[in-house]
Symmetry: C2
Subunit: 247 residues, 2 copies
Protein backbone atom coordinates (compact mmCIF):
# COMPACT_ATOMS: atom_id res chain seq x y z
CA UNK A 1 0.00 0.00 0.00
CA UNK A 2 3.01 2.30 0.21
CA UNK A 3 4.38 1.54 -3.24
CA UNK A 4 5.59 4.19 -5.62
CA UNK A 5 2.36 4.24 -7.62
CA UNK A 6 0.26 5.03 -4.56
CA UNK A 7 2.56 7.80 -3.37
CA UNK A 8 2.31 9.55 -6.73
CA UNK A 9 -1.32 8.72 -7.40
CA UNK A 10 -4.22 11.10 -6.86
CA UNK A 11 -6.35 10.42 -3.81
CA UNK A 12 -9.28 9.01 -5.79
CA UNK A 13 -6.93 6.63 -7.57
CA UNK A 14 -5.74 5.51 -4.13
CA UNK A 15 -9.29 4.99 -2.84
CA UNK A 16 -10.13 3.05 -6.00
CA UNK A 17 -7.00 0.87 -5.76
CA UNK A 18 -7.53 0.11 -2.06
CA UNK A 19 -11.21 -0.73 -2.63
CA UNK A 20 -10.33 -3.02 -5.54
CA UNK A 21 -7.76 -4.72 -3.29
CA UNK A 22 -10.37 -5.26 -0.56
CA UNK A 23 -12.88 -6.58 -3.11
CA UNK A 24 -10.36 -9.02 -4.59
CA UNK A 25 -8.65 -10.17 -1.38
CA UNK A 26 -11.89 -10.66 0.55
CA UNK A 27 -14.01 -11.87 -2.38
CA UNK A 28 -16.60 -9.12 -1.89
CA UNK A 29 -18.08 -8.94 -5.40
CA UNK A 30 -18.87 -11.79 -7.77
CA UNK A 31 -20.24 -12.00 -11.29
CA UNK A 32 -23.97 -11.29 -11.34
CA UNK A 33 -24.19 -9.70 -7.88
CA UNK A 34 -27.06 -7.31 -7.19
CA UNK A 35 -25.58 -4.84 -4.71
CA UNK A 36 -27.63 -2.48 -2.59
CA UNK A 37 -25.61 0.45 -1.25
CA UNK A 38 -26.84 1.87 2.05
CA UNK A 39 -26.41 5.63 1.62
CA UNK A 40 -26.84 8.27 4.27
CA UNK A 41 -25.72 11.16 2.10
CA UNK A 42 -22.56 11.45 4.21
CA UNK A 43 -19.04 11.32 2.80
CA UNK A 44 -18.39 7.61 3.50
CA UNK A 45 -21.41 6.11 1.76
CA UNK A 46 -21.25 8.64 -1.09
CA UNK A 47 -17.61 7.82 -1.77
CA UNK A 48 -18.59 4.13 -1.54
CA UNK A 49 -21.27 4.62 -4.21
CA UNK A 50 -18.79 6.46 -6.43
CA UNK A 51 -16.05 3.85 -6.04
CA UNK A 52 -18.37 0.88 -6.70
CA UNK A 53 -19.52 2.62 -9.84
CA UNK A 54 -15.96 3.51 -10.87
CA UNK A 55 -14.80 -0.08 -10.33
CA UNK A 56 -17.37 -1.55 -12.74
CA UNK A 57 -15.11 -1.37 -15.82
CA UNK A 58 -12.06 -2.33 -13.76
CA UNK A 59 -13.20 -5.46 -11.92
CA UNK A 60 -14.03 -7.48 -15.04
CA UNK A 61 -17.29 -8.82 -13.67
CA UNK A 62 -20.81 -7.61 -14.17
CA UNK A 63 -22.73 -6.42 -11.15
CA UNK A 64 -25.77 -4.23 -10.59
CA UNK A 65 -25.84 -1.30 -8.20
CA UNK A 66 -28.72 0.45 -6.45
CA UNK A 67 -28.82 2.77 -3.47
CA UNK A 68 -31.27 3.05 -0.63
CA UNK A 69 -31.53 5.84 1.90
CA UNK A 70 -33.44 5.38 5.12
CA UNK A 71 -35.14 8.52 6.28
CA UNK A 72 -36.92 8.70 9.58
CA UNK A 73 -39.36 10.67 11.65
CA UNK A 74 -36.59 12.46 13.54
CA UNK A 75 -34.43 13.32 10.57
CA UNK A 76 -36.17 14.82 7.56
CA UNK A 77 -33.69 17.45 6.51
CA UNK A 78 -31.49 15.39 4.19
CA UNK A 79 -30.75 16.94 0.84
CA UNK A 80 -32.17 13.96 -1.00
CA UNK A 81 -32.38 15.64 -4.38
CA UNK A 82 -28.63 16.35 -4.28
CA UNK A 83 -27.95 12.75 -3.37
CA UNK A 84 -30.33 11.37 -6.01
CA UNK A 85 -28.85 13.54 -8.80
CA UNK A 86 -25.31 12.56 -7.88
CA UNK A 87 -26.15 8.85 -7.84
CA UNK A 88 -27.90 9.21 -11.21
CA UNK A 89 -24.61 10.57 -12.65
CA UNK A 90 -22.97 7.34 -11.55
CA UNK A 91 -25.84 5.29 -13.01
CA UNK A 92 -27.12 4.17 -9.62
CA UNK A 93 -30.90 4.15 -9.07
CA UNK A 94 -32.03 5.59 -5.75
CA UNK A 95 -34.86 4.71 -3.36
CA UNK A 96 -35.85 6.54 -0.23
CA UNK A 97 -37.32 4.34 2.47
CA UNK A 98 -39.20 6.01 5.29
CA UNK A 99 -39.01 4.26 8.69
CA UNK A 100 -40.96 5.73 11.63
CA UNK A 101 -38.21 5.01 14.16
CA UNK A 102 -39.63 7.11 16.99
CA UNK A 103 -43.18 6.10 16.02
CA UNK A 104 -42.30 2.45 16.59
CA UNK A 105 -40.98 3.01 20.11
CA UNK A 106 -43.05 1.23 22.73
CA UNK A 107 -44.73 3.47 25.26
CA UNK A 108 -42.36 4.69 27.94
CA UNK A 109 -39.24 3.81 25.93
CA UNK A 110 -36.92 6.60 24.93
CA UNK A 111 -34.94 6.92 21.73
CA UNK A 112 -31.45 5.38 21.68
CA UNK A 113 -28.74 4.41 19.20
CA UNK A 114 -29.32 0.69 19.62
CA UNK A 115 -33.05 0.94 18.80
CA UNK A 116 -32.42 3.18 15.80
CA UNK A 117 -29.66 0.99 14.35
CA UNK A 118 -31.57 -2.29 14.73
CA UNK A 119 -34.67 -0.75 13.11
CA UNK A 120 -32.61 0.57 10.22
CA UNK A 121 -30.67 -2.67 9.79
CA UNK A 122 -33.79 -4.85 9.72
CA UNK A 123 -35.55 -2.53 7.22
CA UNK A 124 -32.43 -2.61 5.07
CA UNK A 125 -32.34 -6.41 5.13
CA UNK A 126 -36.05 -6.71 4.34
CA UNK A 127 -35.77 -4.24 1.48
CA UNK A 128 -32.78 -6.14 0.05
CA UNK A 129 -34.52 -9.51 0.27
CA UNK A 130 -37.82 -8.22 -1.20
CA UNK A 131 -35.97 -6.65 -4.11
CA UNK A 132 -33.60 -9.57 -4.79
CA UNK A 133 -30.38 -7.83 -3.80
CA UNK A 134 -27.85 -10.42 -2.60
CA UNK A 135 -25.26 -7.97 -1.18
CA UNK A 136 -25.60 -4.89 0.99
CA UNK A 137 -22.60 -2.54 0.77
CA UNK A 138 -21.81 -0.42 3.85
CA UNK A 139 -19.47 2.57 4.00
CA UNK A 140 -17.36 1.54 7.01
CA UNK A 141 -13.68 2.38 6.60
CA UNK A 142 -10.38 1.31 8.19
CA UNK A 143 -10.74 3.71 11.14
CA UNK A 144 -14.27 2.43 11.89
CA UNK A 145 -12.92 -1.13 11.90
CA UNK A 146 -10.08 -0.24 14.28
CA UNK A 147 -12.44 1.66 16.57
CA UNK A 148 -14.76 -1.33 16.76
CA UNK A 149 -11.77 -3.57 17.47
CA UNK A 150 -10.67 -1.40 20.41
CA UNK A 151 -14.25 -0.97 21.69
CA UNK A 152 -14.75 -4.75 21.71
CA UNK A 153 -11.34 -5.32 23.31
CA UNK A 154 -11.96 -2.81 26.09
CA UNK A 155 -15.64 -3.51 26.72
CA UNK A 156 -15.92 -7.24 26.05
CA UNK A 157 -12.35 -8.48 26.47
CA UNK A 158 -12.34 -10.12 23.07
CA UNK A 159 -10.53 -9.78 19.77
CA UNK A 160 -13.24 -9.05 17.20
CA UNK A 161 -14.32 -6.40 14.75
CA UNK A 162 -16.56 -5.76 11.74
CA UNK A 163 -15.48 -8.09 8.93
CA UNK A 164 -15.23 -6.99 5.31
CA UNK A 165 -17.57 -9.83 4.35
CA UNK A 166 -20.41 -11.18 6.48
CA UNK A 167 -22.92 -13.74 5.25
CA UNK A 168 -26.23 -13.79 7.12
CA UNK A 169 -27.46 -17.22 8.12
CA UNK A 170 -31.15 -16.37 8.02
CA UNK A 171 -31.23 -14.10 4.99
CA UNK A 172 -30.01 -14.74 1.41
CA UNK A 173 -27.93 -11.58 1.78
CA UNK A 174 -24.32 -10.74 2.70
CA UNK A 175 -22.85 -7.51 4.03
CA UNK A 176 -19.75 -6.15 2.30
CA UNK A 177 -17.47 -3.27 3.35
CA UNK A 178 -15.43 -2.36 0.25
CA UNK A 179 -13.89 0.72 1.95
CA UNK A 180 -12.38 -1.40 4.73
CA UNK A 181 -8.79 -0.77 3.53
CA UNK A 182 -9.32 2.97 3.15
CA UNK A 183 -8.51 5.42 5.94
CA UNK A 184 -11.07 8.06 6.88
CA UNK A 185 -8.59 10.82 5.96
CA UNK A 186 -8.36 9.35 2.45
CA UNK A 187 -12.16 9.30 2.13
CA UNK A 188 -12.39 12.93 3.22
CA UNK A 189 -9.65 13.93 0.76
CA UNK A 190 -11.36 11.95 -2.01
CA UNK A 191 -14.75 13.54 -1.27
CA UNK A 192 -13.12 16.98 -1.36
CA UNK A 193 -11.24 16.25 -4.58
CA UNK A 194 -14.39 15.00 -6.30
CA UNK A 195 -16.51 17.89 -5.03
CA UNK A 196 -18.75 15.55 -3.05
CA UNK A 197 -20.66 17.76 -0.67
CA UNK A 198 -22.12 16.29 2.46
CA UNK A 199 -25.85 15.86 1.86
CA UNK A 200 -26.73 14.06 5.09
CA UNK A 201 -28.24 15.76 8.07
CA UNK A 202 -26.44 15.33 11.35
CA UNK A 203 -28.17 12.93 13.71
CA UNK A 204 -29.80 15.11 16.39
CA UNK A 205 -28.80 12.53 18.99
CA UNK A 206 -25.14 13.00 18.09
CA UNK A 207 -22.41 10.51 17.35
CA UNK A 208 -22.34 7.53 19.68
CA UNK A 209 -20.33 8.99 22.53
CA UNK A 210 -18.39 5.80 23.27
CA UNK A 211 -17.23 5.63 19.65
CA UNK A 212 -16.32 9.31 19.72
CA UNK A 213 -14.26 8.77 22.87
CA UNK A 214 -12.44 5.80 21.33
CA UNK A 215 -11.83 7.73 18.12
CA UNK A 216 -10.03 10.54 19.99
CA UNK A 217 -8.03 8.13 22.14
CA UNK A 218 -7.03 6.00 19.20
CA UNK A 219 -5.75 9.13 17.43
CA UNK A 220 -3.67 9.96 20.53
CA UNK A 221 -2.50 6.39 20.97
CA UNK A 222 -1.28 6.02 17.40
CA UNK A 223 -0.16 9.65 16.97
CA UNK A 224 -2.68 9.45 14.12
CA UNK A 225 0.10 7.75 12.20
CA UNK A 226 -1.11 6.08 9.05
CA UNK A 227 1.76 3.56 9.25
CA UNK A 228 0.88 2.55 12.83
CA UNK A 229 -2.84 2.27 12.02
CA UNK A 230 -2.09 0.07 9.00
CA UNK A 231 0.17 -2.19 11.08
CA UNK A 232 -2.60 -2.61 13.67
CA UNK A 233 -5.05 -3.22 10.81
CA UNK A 234 -2.81 -5.99 9.43
CA UNK A 235 -3.23 -7.88 12.70
CA UNK A 236 -6.94 -7.05 13.00
CA UNK A 237 -7.56 -8.21 9.42
CA UNK A 238 -6.41 -11.70 10.42
CA UNK A 239 -9.50 -11.89 12.67
CA UNK A 240 -11.75 -11.69 9.62
CA UNK A 241 -12.50 -15.03 8.02
CA UNK A 242 -11.94 -14.80 4.30
CA UNK A 243 -15.10 -16.72 3.47
CA UNK A 244 -14.62 -16.20 -0.25
CA UNK A 245 -11.20 -17.04 -1.61
CA UNK A 246 -9.69 -14.28 -3.79
CA UNK A 247 -11.55 -14.27 -7.11
Amino acid sequence: MSNRFLRRASVHDIVQKLSAKAVLEHGLIEEGDRILIAVSGGKDSTVLAWVLSALRPVLKRRYELAAVHISSDFCACCKQSVLKDRLAQWDIPFTDLFVPIIGRLKEGRSMNCYWCSTQRRSELLNFAVENQYNKIALGHHLDDILETFFMNLMAKGEFSTMPLFLAYRNYPVSLIRPLGFVEEAQIIACADAKGILKAACTCPYGLNSERRRIRARLADFTDNSSAVKRRIFNAVEQLMPKIHPPL
Copy 2:
Protein backbone atom coordinates in the same frame (compact mmCIF):
# COMPACT_ATOMS: atom_id res chain seq x y z
CA MET B 1 -10.78 -11.79 40.40
CA SER B 2 -13.33 -9.31 41.62
CA ASN B 3 -15.07 -11.65 44.03
CA ARG B 4 -16.03 -10.67 47.52
CA PHE B 5 -12.97 -12.25 49.12
CA LEU B 6 -10.60 -10.21 47.00
CA ARG B 7 -12.41 -6.93 47.65
CA ARG B 8 -12.10 -7.42 51.41
CA ALA B 9 -8.67 -9.04 51.40
CA SER B 10 -5.43 -7.28 52.17
CA VAL B 11 -3.24 -6.46 49.22
CA HIS B 12 -0.67 -9.17 49.93
CA ASP B 13 -3.48 -11.74 50.13
CA ILE B 14 -4.62 -10.52 46.72
CA VAL B 15 -1.13 -10.77 45.23
CA GLN B 16 -0.77 -14.27 46.69
CA LYS B 17 -4.18 -15.41 45.37
CA LEU B 18 -3.57 -14.01 41.88
CA SER B 19 -0.12 -15.60 41.73
CA ALA B 20 -1.50 -18.96 42.86
CA LYS B 21 -4.18 -18.66 40.17
CA ALA B 22 -1.53 -17.96 37.50
CA VAL B 23 0.61 -20.88 38.73
CA LEU B 24 -2.34 -23.28 38.68
CA GLU B 25 -4.03 -22.14 35.47
CA HIS B 26 -0.81 -21.96 33.46
CA GLY B 27 0.92 -24.92 35.08
CA LEU B 28 3.94 -22.84 36.12
CA ILE B 29 5.24 -24.91 39.05
CA GLU B 30 5.47 -28.68 39.35
CA GLU B 31 6.58 -31.04 42.08
CA GLY B 32 10.37 -31.06 42.38
CA ASP B 33 11.01 -27.88 40.41
CA ARG B 34 14.24 -26.01 41.06
CA ILE B 35 13.32 -22.38 40.47
CA LEU B 36 15.83 -19.59 39.97
CA ILE B 37 14.38 -16.14 40.60
CA ALA B 38 15.97 -13.32 38.62
CA VAL B 39 16.12 -10.46 41.13
CA SER B 40 17.08 -6.88 40.40
CA GLY B 41 16.31 -5.60 43.88
CA GLY B 42 13.35 -3.67 42.46
CA LYS B 43 9.78 -4.01 43.69
CA ASP B 44 8.60 -6.52 41.05
CA SER B 45 11.25 -9.18 41.50
CA THR B 46 11.34 -8.73 45.29
CA VAL B 47 7.58 -9.20 45.56
CA LEU B 48 7.99 -12.20 43.24
CA ALA B 49 10.56 -13.74 45.59
CA TRP B 50 8.28 -13.11 48.58
CA VAL B 51 5.20 -14.58 46.91
CA LEU B 52 6.97 -17.72 45.65
CA SER B 53 8.22 -18.26 49.18
CA ALA B 54 4.77 -17.58 50.70
CA LEU B 55 3.10 -19.99 48.26
CA ARG B 56 5.28 -22.96 49.31
CA PRO B 57 2.91 -24.18 52.05
CA VAL B 58 -0.14 -23.32 49.93
CA LEU B 59 0.60 -25.00 46.61
CA LYS B 60 0.95 -28.53 47.98
CA ARG B 61 4.02 -29.35 45.96
CA ARG B 62 7.67 -29.19 46.92
CA TYR B 63 9.90 -26.84 45.00
CA GLU B 64 13.27 -25.22 45.64
CA LEU B 65 13.94 -21.52 45.32
CA ALA B 66 17.14 -19.57 44.76
CA ALA B 67 17.78 -16.04 43.61
CA VAL B 68 20.39 -14.59 41.31
CA HIS B 69 21.22 -10.95 40.78
CA ILE B 70 23.20 -9.82 37.79
CA SER B 71 25.44 -6.88 38.53
CA SER B 72 27.41 -5.15 35.84
CA ASP B 73 30.23 -2.78 35.13
CA PHE B 74 27.88 0.19 34.70
CA CYS B 75 25.72 -0.45 37.73
CA ALA B 76 27.52 -1.22 40.97
CA CYS B 77 25.38 0.71 43.43
CA CYS B 78 22.78 -1.93 44.29
CA LYS B 79 22.13 -2.42 47.98
CA GLN B 80 22.94 -6.09 47.72
CA SER B 81 23.25 -6.66 51.44
CA VAL B 82 19.66 -5.42 51.95
CA LEU B 83 18.47 -7.72 49.21
CA LYS B 84 20.46 -10.69 50.49
CA ASP B 85 19.17 -10.26 54.06
CA ARG B 86 15.58 -10.02 52.91
CA LEU B 87 15.84 -13.13 50.75
CA ALA B 88 17.44 -15.00 53.66
CA GLN B 89 14.33 -14.20 55.77
CA TRP B 90 12.27 -15.96 53.11
CA ASP B 91 14.71 -18.87 53.01
CA ILE B 92 15.97 -18.08 49.53
CA PRO B 93 19.73 -18.39 48.91
CA PHE B 94 21.26 -15.55 46.95
CA THR B 95 24.03 -15.36 44.35
CA ASP B 96 25.47 -12.28 42.76
CA LEU B 97 26.71 -12.77 39.23
CA PHE B 98 28.99 -10.13 37.74
CA VAL B 99 28.74 -9.61 33.99
CA PRO B 100 31.04 -7.06 32.30
CA ILE B 101 28.37 -5.79 29.92
CA ILE B 102 30.24 -2.72 28.72
CA GLY B 103 33.53 -4.64 28.81
CA ARG B 104 32.14 -7.13 26.29
CA LEU B 105 31.14 -4.50 23.74
CA LYS B 106 33.05 -4.82 20.51
CA GLU B 107 35.19 -1.85 19.62
CA GLY B 108 33.19 1.03 18.21
CA ARG B 109 29.86 -0.30 19.46
CA SER B 110 27.93 1.76 21.97
CA MET B 111 25.85 0.54 24.89
CA ASN B 112 22.17 -0.17 24.21
CA CYS B 113 19.22 -1.91 25.85
CA TYR B 114 19.22 -4.77 23.36
CA TRP B 115 22.89 -5.63 24.03
CA CYS B 116 22.46 -5.41 27.79
CA SER B 117 19.31 -7.55 27.88
CA THR B 118 20.69 -10.31 25.62
CA GLN B 119 23.91 -10.46 27.70
CA ARG B 120 21.91 -10.71 30.92
CA ARG B 121 19.47 -13.27 29.51
CA SER B 122 22.22 -15.56 28.22
CA GLU B 123 24.16 -15.37 31.52
CA LEU B 124 20.97 -16.16 33.38
CA LEU B 125 20.29 -19.18 31.19
CA ASN B 126 23.86 -20.45 31.51
CA PHE B 127 23.80 -20.03 35.28
CA ALA B 128 20.47 -21.88 35.52
CA VAL B 129 21.68 -24.77 33.37
CA GLU B 130 25.05 -25.07 35.15
CA ASN B 131 23.32 -25.15 38.51
CA GLN B 132 20.50 -27.52 37.53
CA TYR B 133 17.64 -25.05 37.83
CA ASN B 134 14.81 -26.06 35.48
CA LYS B 135 12.72 -22.89 35.80
CA ILE B 136 13.64 -19.20 35.75
CA ALA B 137 11.04 -16.95 37.38
CA LEU B 138 10.74 -13.39 36.09
CA GLY B 139 8.90 -10.51 37.76
CA HIS B 140 6.82 -9.29 34.78
CA HIS B 141 3.30 -8.27 35.76
CA LEU B 142 -0.03 -7.70 33.98
CA ASP B 143 0.85 -4.15 32.91
CA ASP B 144 4.18 -5.32 31.40
CA ILE B 145 2.30 -7.98 29.45
CA LEU B 146 -0.26 -5.46 28.13
CA GLU B 147 2.49 -3.00 27.23
CA THR B 148 4.32 -5.68 25.26
CA PHE B 149 1.06 -6.63 23.55
CA PHE B 150 0.46 -3.03 22.41
CA MET B 151 4.12 -2.50 21.43
CA ASN B 152 4.02 -5.63 19.25
CA LEU B 153 0.64 -4.64 17.77
CA MET B 154 1.79 -1.12 16.89
CA ALA B 155 5.34 -1.90 15.80
CA LYS B 156 4.99 -5.35 14.23
CA GLY B 157 1.28 -5.55 13.35
CA GLU B 158 0.87 -8.82 15.20
CA PHE B 159 -1.01 -10.15 18.20
CA SER B 160 1.64 -11.44 20.60
CA THR B 161 2.99 -10.86 24.07
CA MET B 162 5.15 -12.40 26.80
CA PRO B 163 3.60 -15.72 27.83
CA LEU B 164 3.32 -16.83 31.46
CA PHE B 165 5.14 -20.03 30.54
CA LEU B 166 7.85 -20.39 27.90
CA ALA B 167 9.86 -23.56 27.36
CA TYR B 168 13.22 -23.08 25.65
CA ARG B 169 13.95 -25.48 22.84
CA ASN B 170 17.70 -25.42 23.23
CA TYR B 171 17.98 -25.33 27.02
CA PRO B 172 16.48 -27.65 29.65
CA VAL B 173 14.93 -24.55 31.24
CA SER B 174 11.57 -22.78 31.11
CA LEU B 175 10.69 -19.17 31.88
CA ILE B 176 7.75 -18.56 34.21
CA ARG B 177 5.98 -15.28 35.08
CA PRO B 178 3.96 -15.97 38.24
CA LEU B 179 3.00 -12.26 38.65
CA GLY B 180 1.32 -12.18 35.22
CA PHE B 181 -2.18 -11.77 36.73
CA VAL B 182 -1.08 -9.04 39.14
CA GLU B 183 -1.35 -5.36 38.26
CA GLU B 184 1.62 -3.09 38.86
CA ALA B 185 -0.44 -0.97 41.29
CA GLN B 186 -1.07 -4.10 43.38
CA ILE B 187 2.64 -4.93 43.43
CA ILE B 188 3.49 -1.41 44.57
CA ALA B 189 0.83 -1.56 47.29
CA CYS B 190 2.06 -5.00 48.37
CA ALA B 191 5.69 -3.82 48.51
CA ASP B 192 4.61 -0.82 50.59
CA ALA B 193 2.48 -2.94 52.92
CA LYS B 194 5.31 -5.41 53.47
CA GLY B 195 7.91 -2.69 53.96
CA ILE B 196 9.84 -3.80 50.90
CA LEU B 197 12.19 -0.98 50.09
CA LYS B 198 13.57 -0.65 46.63
CA ALA B 199 17.17 -1.91 46.70
CA ALA B 200 17.92 -1.70 42.99
CA CYS B 201 19.85 1.11 41.42
CA THR B 202 18.22 2.90 38.56
CA CYS B 203 19.70 2.02 35.19
CA PRO B 204 21.77 5.02 34.14
CA TYR B 205 20.52 4.56 30.58
CA GLY B 206 16.92 5.00 31.75
CA LEU B 207 13.83 2.97 31.06
CA ASN B 208 13.40 1.90 27.45
CA SER B 209 11.78 5.04 26.05
CA GLU B 210 9.37 3.19 23.72
CA ARG B 211 8.02 1.20 26.67
CA ARG B 212 7.71 4.37 28.75
CA ARG B 213 5.75 6.04 25.96
CA ILE B 214 3.41 3.05 25.63
CA ARG B 215 2.95 2.91 29.40
CA ALA B 216 1.71 6.51 29.53
CA ARG B 217 -0.52 6.08 26.50
CA LEU B 218 -2.02 2.86 27.78
CA ALA B 219 -2.88 4.60 31.06
CA ASP B 220 -4.65 7.37 29.10
CA PHE B 221 -6.33 4.93 26.75
CA THR B 222 -7.78 2.78 29.53
CA ASP B 223 -8.34 5.66 31.99
CA ASN B 224 -6.03 3.49 34.11
CA SER B 225 -9.15 1.44 34.86
CA SER B 226 -8.39 -1.88 36.46
CA ALA B 227 -11.60 -3.36 35.00
CA VAL B 228 -10.70 -2.29 31.45
CA LYS B 229 -7.13 -3.55 31.78
CA ARG B 230 -8.35 -6.93 33.05
CA ARG B 231 -10.82 -7.22 30.18
CA ILE B 232 -8.03 -6.54 27.68
CA PHE B 233 -5.84 -9.04 29.53
CA ASN B 234 -8.58 -11.69 29.22
CA ALA B 235 -8.29 -11.43 25.45
CA VAL B 236 -4.48 -11.20 25.50
CA GLU B 237 -4.23 -14.26 27.75
CA GLN B 238 -5.86 -16.33 25.00
CA LEU B 239 -2.72 -15.71 22.91
CA MET B 240 -0.62 -17.63 25.42
CA PRO B 241 -0.47 -21.34 24.79
CA LYS B 242 -1.19 -23.20 28.01
CA ILE B 243 1.55 -25.72 27.43
CA HIS B 244 0.99 -27.30 30.80
CA PRO B 245 -2.58 -28.23 31.58
CA PRO B 246 -3.80 -26.94 34.97
CA LEU B 247 -2.18 -29.09 37.64
